[in-house]
Amino acid sequence: MTRLLLLLLTSSATLLVFGLWIPLKAVLAQEMLEVAWAESQARQVESRPWPWADTWPVARLAIPALNDSMIVLADTHGESLAFGPGRLAGGDDGNGAVIIAGHRDTHFRGLNALEAGNEIRLQGRNGRWRSYRVENARVVDSRSERIDAQQLPAGTLLLVTCYPFNSVDAGGPLRYVVRARADGITAPREQIDTVAGI
């Protein structure tokens, strides 16, 4: 009986630790990504946050309404979403649409609080901030819809995360898509300019 109890206790504790490790990892990774992001902006190269990483920072996403800011990684393959939101489509040049996906229980947890008119800011590697306004948000079924990036007008930003927000099912088919449109390019931040000049 005691042994069984011990087993239950340890396995539950392990589960809890694993469960808590995921959000912790998301927070810790962002700290490391800050360093890599600063370096990639300074040197204008793809700099990997740790030597064995299969991804690198490509942008900074700031959501003033949520008082939140995070580093966006290239692509969404493998484990990269655990460290930060991934950019599915879109480049630094500002042509075409930008699509960013993130985990609903870590980085994109606050997405459901976004409302039409809220500001979203995106900074490219060249240091330029681009400001977007939320247009709408909707729920899609990933089994019956795809994103046609070519059809989206330039200057569109899509933030994708899982839906419903508090579900425990990690494999659900529904996605929450926030659509935002660019206001225009705002002036680059001065401290970035000086770093880029090195």
Binding site: Q150, Q151, D169
Partner: protein, 734 residues
């Protein structure tokens, strides 16, 4: 992560039964949550009697309970919320995602007689759901197909369709749909793209639509070819959407744009074969070739064939029985060596009018190699991703190999933007060729298909550089033609062409053949199709030798008898390349006398040939072919003059000949209603299959949730459980 995956799998059976995934977990956790809650109050009373460790345990369990309640509360709130979210129309009332309800079957029955192939295409829509359905299916047909019949089959009954002006037919259909009658409507969206609508398909039943169409058989360099498109490559729609809309990607259909006003009608949802129901999107094909001459070989670059011969008639079937509709079905047949026809005449009398179809192959007409200026244009848009871009690269490499040091060349690649390798065409020196090879090897497919700037770049006027000898300037355009604004591009080619020639090379499992053929025609060149990676060298060899050979220009035909009553098409033949036949169809000529054809060789000498019309064999469907050619001719004229085509005249011609056209479509309506007006009818847009070898152009939504909430919930529940047991044990002990 292994651990969490196992947990998910254990968890999943419940989520099928439960209305919302969260709920079952919530219920069980809530029950667990009560255990310590109930046991807690007595422990408070007895806390002074127990050891301090016991008190800590109770404190811990209380904290755990509070934590769990905090954690579980939003889950519970969410579970009660999801029941009435109105947007989730693709989830039925039991929370199950609905599979596409209609299963599509296709049967092709094709008979080839002479130069015309006559086909019956039976499309069956089987409703697997418990609801009444309307099926909408966008499908391709051969690019020169003349559709002349529609029959709807419901059970034992057959209803013949009628040709009507497009808007009238659509109204008839919509009225019948509302009234609950069986109805079918087939419309032409592009010369090679059609939409079938079938209304009121009863639950668990099948409604079939039989289309009759004919198409000319291709004949080039002694080989006959028939191609049967089964799916389409998703088209790129340039321009901005006409109306900004929130349902931008509603079930995968594109929105109309300024340049392609009917984008939504020609862009069905494209899926992988695994995403359609078992047995759906398969076609059975039977092809009967009555060539009228002994055949040496029947082959296909796309599928394995089973052939059986009976005299001069050959029956062809695909070896695998029914084929998956994800690539064009192509059959080629070759007469015995030395027996290739160099001329043929067919005759038919219809409604008191005589129709003649004449074919003439000029044959070998000398060879003279001029220094050339070759511009290769390669499409690197997203629709080319996968097998297509590899084929395109190897086609381009093969093209580079044909260059001699006397030639100049350039390579232009385009997707959303066009980019040229050299500022202006360069001499084909070893150095430049090596650079080009490297450039080509590095090409990747992504982005849009903005063809217009690439065409401008390729067809731009040559600058300066007076040369000692004139160069023949040729543009080779390698693409899958996945564009929606064909007409605009043809206009551009006509305006910018000058004395250049444009050759198109079609790539992929389902290229837009209409665009390829017409672009080459407006560009005074030829169209070559590549079907698979193994099929690259043969057709390209033929193309490059045709490009080196001179062409026959200024072709004139003279029919016997008085000119007045004769209407012959094409009005003006284009220039002729090595191995190509001249094909004319005429009305008002009886099978008597001689047809005279003359032309000019590149050196300036005249070329003449006569054809004895009395040798004519009887043919079928010539009048339809004639009417189709006449309609095409009228649309060409409108394009050249920049006016709208004469809609009334085309409608009248098409109705008189029982043909579908851009302005006429078929509609079949059963007279008695079958569906009660109060029974709902659900629309079902059937997807088309992604062409084999190409990659999904559209992005899938990534997986964007972690197992963290599940792990935390399970961990907390487990811990509470253990603490509760420990507490109970302590209490049980004296």
């Amino acid at each position: 992560m292994m651990l969490s995956n196992d947990l998910l799998r254990l968890y999943s059976p419940c989520s099928h039964r439960c209305p919302a995934p969260g709920r079952s977990a919530v219920v069980s956790e809530a029950r667990c949550g009560h255990v310590p809650a109930r046991s807690a109050p007595p422990s408070f009373l007895s806390k002074f009697r127990h050891r301090p460790s016991n008190r800590t345990l109770e404190g811990v369990s209380l904290w755990l309970a509070v934590l769990l309640m905090l954690f579980v509360h939003p889950l519970y709130a969410e579970a009660s919320e999801t029941d009435d979210v109105g947007q989730l129309h693709f989830v039925d009332d039991r929370g199950q995602w609905q599979e596409p309800a209609l299963v599509l079957g296709s049967e092709f029955d094709i008979r080839v007689g002479g130069l015309i192939a006559d086909s019956r295409l039976l499309r069956s829509f089987r409703n697997t759901s418990d609801q009444w359905r309307e099926g909408v299916f966008v499908f391709p047909l051969p690019d020169k197909a003349s559709v002349y019949g529609l029959t709807m089959k419901v059970g034992e009954r057959t209803i013949e369709g009628k040709v009507q002006p497009k808007e009238t037919a659509r109204r008839t259909y919509e009225k019948a749909k509302q009234a609950g009658q069986h109805a079918a409507n087939v419309e032409q969206q592009r010369p090679n793209l059609f939409t079938a609508r079938v209304a009121n398909i009863p639950p668990k039943e099948t409604v079939s639509v039989e289309l009759k169409y004919q198409q000319p058989v291709g004949y080039q360099a002694g080989v006959f070819e028939l191609s049967l498109p089964t799916t389409l490559t998703p088209r790129y729609m340039p321009g901005t959407p006409i109306r900004p809309s929130t349902d931008q990607w509603q079930s995968g259909w594109a929105l109309p744009t300024i340049e392609v006003a009917d984008a939504d009608a020609i862009s069905p949802f494209t899926v992988k074969p695994a995403d359609v129901a078992e047995g759906s999107h398969r076609a059975s094909i039977e092809l009967l070739i009555d060539a009228g001459l002994p055949l040496e070989e029947v082959s296909s670059p796309s599928h394995q064939l089973v052939t059986s011969q009976d005299g001069q008639t050959v029956t062809v079937r695909p070896a695998e029985g029914s084929i998956l509709m994800d690539r064009d079905f192509v059959v080629r047949w070759r007469p015995l060596a030395g027996r290739e026809p160099s001329a043929a005449v067919f005759y038919q009398s219809w409604q008191g009018e005589d129709y003649l179809l004449a074919m003439l192959v000029p044959g070998q007409i000398g060879k003279r190699v001029l220094p050339r200026e070759l511009v290769f244009v390669i499409d690197t848009s997203g629709s080319m991703a996968g097998e297509s871009i590899r084929q395109a690269r190897s086609a381009l490499q093969a093209g580079l190999q044909t260059l001699t040091p006397r030639d100049r060349f350039n390579v232009i690649r385009f997707n959303s933007q066009a980019h040229a390798l050299f500022m202006q065409p360069e001499i084909a020196s070893g150095n430049n060729l090596a650079r080009a090879r490297q450039y080509v090897d590095r090409l990747r497919a992504e982005g849009g298909t903005e063809m217009a700037p690439a065409l401008s770049l390729a067809l731009q006027d040559r600058e300066g550089g007076e040369e000692e000898s004139p160069r023949v300037r040729q543009v080779i355009f390698i693409t899958d033609g996945a564009v929606g604004d064909e007409a605009g591009l043809f206009r551009q080619i006509r305006q910018q062409l000058g004395d250049q020639r444009l050759f198109t090379v079609g790539i992929g499992s389902a290229p837009n053949r209409h665009f390829m053929r017409e672009a080459a025609r407006w560009g005074r060149g030829t169209y070559t199709a590549i079907h698979s990676a193994s099929d690259v060298s043969g057709p390209l060899q033929a193309l490059f030798s045709a490009m080196e050979s001179p062409v026959l220009t200024d072709i004139q035909v003279q029919w016997p008898g008085q000119e007045a009553g004769i209407e012959s098409f094409p009005r003006r033949a284009g220039d002729l390349f090595q191995g190509e036949p001249l094909i004319y169809v005429a009305r008002g000529v009886s099978a008597m006398g001689e047809l005279r054809v003359s032309g000019r060789l590149p050196g300036g000498e005249a070329w003449r040939k006569t054809l004895d019309l009395q040798q004519a064999a009887s043919g079928t469907g010539l009048y339809r072919h004639w009417a189709r050619e006449k309609i095409d001719g009228m649309q060409d004229e409108a394009r050249v003059s920049g006016q709208e085509p004469d809609k009334a005249a085309i409608t009248e011609l098409a109705v008189a000949h029982g043909l579908m056209s851009a302005y006429t479509s078929f509609v079949a309506v059963e007279t008695t209603p079958v569906r009660m007006p109060e029974t709902p009818l659900a629309p079902d847009n059937l997807p088309t299959l992604l062409p084999a070898g190409s990659e999904v152009g559209m992005l899938r939504y990534p997986q964007t949730a972690t197992a963290a909430p599940l792990l935390i919930a399970l961990g907390l529940v487990g811990l509470m459980f253990s603490v509760a047991i420990v507490l109970l044990q302590r209490r049980a002990l004296p």
